[in-house]
């Protein structure tokens, strides 16, 4: 049975009115929702009841070692769980990263985890616990790294172990992969092959910008060509893919323009293999 749901966009408040209209033309096939947008007013998510939803959080800090920060995670999980029960999304995802220290210092952004056995053990336990708690498939996303942390495992090995031992999925952010490749000088195609592609459930596409010679995932520009090429390469491998989401946080275009970007991604995903483009070296 196919797991494919469709291509869609990330929900932003700017699009609320347009998404609330019942006309099918202005509605994506799937909508990615950040749960914290609805923590204060959970009933607002009912407006999106007839669109398939996937939840994407940024604040669970799955890699943070046990400590005082657990209280924050617990509370956030409670809020997410309440929203999950209300909206019944298809899956819940977060980043394989930390956003706060064990003692509770908030970073405010995604900080990479140390890819070693200790982190693996920690995240394994958390994924299992969250899976039991939320009663939904859990997917973890690769982040755009501000710097590289080298340890016993590579990031791809960490994902492979997690997928194999918990049954969780991977949310593959192709933009983050491409930006990392540009910043740290590796081949994105070779790195792509190292990820557990059969467990990729969702793909993120977003725009990046170069700031002071370093590429950052600004989510403020159209999706780059390299990412779309990687998407075409992914097609034959990621057979469990459920959704492709185009993310945009800044310089928001009109809803129709963003949906057109998502449509382009869908066209590439369903293009015949013979027309596949070859990813150019960066």
């Amino acid at each position: 049975m196919s797991t494919w749901v469709g291509t869609g966009i990330g929900y932003r408040r700017t699009y609320r009115a347009a998404l609330g209209q019942p006309s099918s033309a202005s509605r994506p096939a799937v909508l990615e929702v950040m749960p914290d947008h609805f923590f204060a007013n959970p009933s607002a998510i009912d407006e999106l009841a007839d669109i398939p939803l996937v939840f994407h959080d940024v604040g669970l800090s799955i890699g943070t070692a046990p400590g005082r920060a657990d209280l924050v995670t617990q509370a956030r999980l409670e809020q997410v769980r309440a929203l999950v029960r209300r909206a019944k999304p298809l899956l819940v995802s977060d980043h394989l990263a930390i956003t706060r220290s064990p003692s509770g210092v908030d970073v405010g952004h995604l900080c990479p985890v140390l890819p070693n056995r200790a982190t693996l053990a920690l995240v394994l336990d958390r994924v299992r616990a969250w899976h039991d708690l939320l009663e939904l498939p859990i997917a973890l996303e690769n982040i755009a790294h501000p710097f590289e942390l080298k340890a016993d495992l590579s990031e791809a090995e960490l994902f492979s172990e997690l997928v194999a031992r918990t049954g969780c999925g991977m949310l593959l952010d192709l933009t983050n992969l491409v930006l990392d490749a540009k910043n740290f000088g590796f081949d994105p195609v070779a790195r792509l092959e190292q990820y557990p592609l059969e467990a990729v459930w969702q793909v993120h596409l977003a725009g990046g910008v170069r700031v002071d010679g370093f590429w950052v995932d600004s989510h403020g520009a159209p999706v780059g060509r390299t990412e779309l090429d990687l998407l075409a390469r992914l097609r034959r491998r990621a057979r469990g893919l459920r959704a492709i989401i185009v993310e945009r946080d800044h310089n928001l275009p009109s809803l129709s323009e963003l949906l057109a970007e998502a449509g382009e991604a869908e066209r590439i995903w369903f293009a015949s293999p013979e027309k596949e483009t070859i990813c150019q070296p960066i």
């Binding site: 914290d36 947008h37 923590f39 204060a40 007013n41 800090s61 890699g63 943070t64 070692a65 046990p66 400590g67 005082r68 920060a69 657990d70 209280l71 924050v72 995670t73 617990q74 509370a75 956030r76 999980l77 409670e78 809020q79 769980r81 930390i98 956003t99 706060r100 220290s101 064990p102 003692s103 509770g104 210092v105 908030d106 970073v107 405010g108 952004h109 900080c111 140390l114 070693n116 056995r117 200790a118 982190t119 693996l120 053990a121 920690l122 394994l124 336990d125 958390r126 616990a129 039991d132 708690l133 501000p146 710097f147 942390l149 080298k150 340890a151 016993d152 002071d212 370093f214 950052v216």
Partner: protein, 436 residues
């Protein structure tokens, strides 16, 4: 709001960004509470309810030190059985109050113990700096503020302060309530086998170390997860990792490097020596040592820039009025690390609320418009209340709604209407009442 309600509301407002203390009744006490007096704490701009505590003076025989604390804790009613249950599990269940908000649940012992030394490294200095101005109001007759050694970190949930208690050191030792200081009966209480009398007896200590007294989390659901994850991850899944608090020091150090300019300076100046003193294993030490200085600096800058981007969305009018607000925020944020909180606010609004006291203080300088500080508070509180639907109050001598409307139109009020006004923010908007 009728006249009486208006008057009552006014009496509740001390200052927007400050703490106010009240007697247990409704009377507002704008003075230092005395030892033995009950106080309630309500951070302005955040609706704290139910917190109470009593100023106490503590002396422990063993360490011969004295502590004076304002134990401002949430109202907590223990339901302790009069007879000690035989079964340990049942006993533990009996101590768990199902109505108690989750955040009141104590931390596992291991977490609390591992937390305390870490906070000493970098965060404590910031906390002391942040709270120094508040200390006299907590009622301690401070002979010397330099004796302040520690704070419990405020953890906010649903706008309640869970732990927020400065501890003042008179003697040398800090964090001196150790496990060996507890009597055998206290140990039983900790295991859930004590009686009500035992519980009463150890209340004093619990004001300092509730996490040590109630080391077991027994509520089903997430609490169990939190309790188990801290013990299971090391021991059961990856035995080769050992019993050292896994990753904790590494992550604390990594995040301190990203958020604390002092750490980065030391890291830059003497990297190897700096890392040598941290209890890290070889992999962790190498991983930190391999981070390029420029990459870490860039990451640190990006964190502040990202936060400002979010804060700026909350304060567009003040930013138009005082473009230096961006620099003010960045300077402040670099030296004031945020503590993770949870609630319904967006990251930007939560950060704006955190920075509000400091920014408001800076904006009250004569070189800025007189109403700039209040306008900032007006914007931030309105945004926060719109998001989380919590009612907030602001007393100002200006009609800020009028000023905001003018700035929206691109007008800069140079002689705005001067009239004491009370603003009430909630999910539906802003209401104002001219104060008599």
């Amino acid at each position: 709001m009728n006249e009486r309600e208006s008057s009552a509301a006014q009496s509740r407002v001390a200052r927007l960004d400050d703490r106010k203390h009240e007697c247990r009744g409704d009377r507002c006490v704008r003075r230092i509470p005395a030892v033995g007096e009950y106080v309630r704490c309500r951070p302005g701009g955040e609706s704290l309810t139910g917190g109470y505590g009593r100023i106490r003076r503590h002396t422990t025989r063993r360490s011969r030190d004295r502590r004076i604390s304002a134990a401002i804790t949430p109202r907590k009613i223990f339901d302790v059985p009069s007879k000690a249950p035989k079964n340990e599990k049942k006993a533990a269940d009996a101590y768990a109050d199902p109505k108690e908000p989750l955040s009141h649940q104590p931390l596992p012992i291991a977490d609390a113990c591992s937390f305390l030394p870490i906070i000493d490294v970098g965060m404590q200095r910031d906390l002391v700096a942040d709270h120094r101005q508040d200390l006299p109001r907590y009622g301690a007759p401070l002979e010397d503020e330099s004796e302040i050694v520690g704070f419990r970190v405020p953890v906010l949930r649903d706008e309640r302060v869970i732990l927020n208690r400065p501890i003042v050191r008179i003697a040398e030792q800090e964090h001196t309530v150790e496990r060996r200081d507890f009597s055998a009966r206290t140990q039983q209480v900790r295991r859930g086998l004590g009686t009500r009398e035992d519980m009463d007896r150890v209340q004093t200590a619990s004001r300092f170390y509730p996490c040590l007294l109630y080391g077991r989390i027994v509520r089903p659901g997430i609490s169990n997860w939190a309790a188990s994850v801290s013990t299971r991850t090391v021991s059961s899944m990856e035995p080769e990792v050992g019993s050292r608090p896994m990753l904790t020091t590494f992550q604390e150090a990594l995040i301190a490097l990203a958020t604390d300019p002092g750490w980065r300076a030391r890291f830059r100046a003497e990297r190897e020596a700096f890392l040598e003193v941290l209890p890290l294993d070889a992999t962790e030490r190498r991983a930190l040592a391999d981070i390029p200085t420029e990459a870490m600096n860039r990451f640190a800058r990006s964190l502040v820039a990202k936060k400002w981007q979010e804060v700026a969305r909350t304060t567009p009018l003040t930013l138009r009025l005082v473009p230096q607000l961006a620099l003010m925020y960045r300077t402040w944020a670099e030296s004031h690390r945020a503590l993770a909180t949870y609630g319904s606010l967006s990251p930007g609004a939560a950060e704006a609320l955190r920075a509000l006291p400091a920014l408001r203080h800076q904006l009250s300088a004569p070189r800025y418009p007189e109403y700039a500080a209040d306008l900032l508070a007006y914007e931030v509180l309105a945004a926060c209340s719109r998001l989380d639907r919590v009612e907030r109050l602001l007393a100002s001598r200006w009609n800020l709604a009028e000023i905001a409307a003018d700035i929206c139109k691109g007008l800069l009020p140079i002689d705005p209407t001067d009239g004491a006004t009370l603003f009430r923010f909630d999910g539906s908007g802003v209401r104002r009442r001219v104060r008599p």
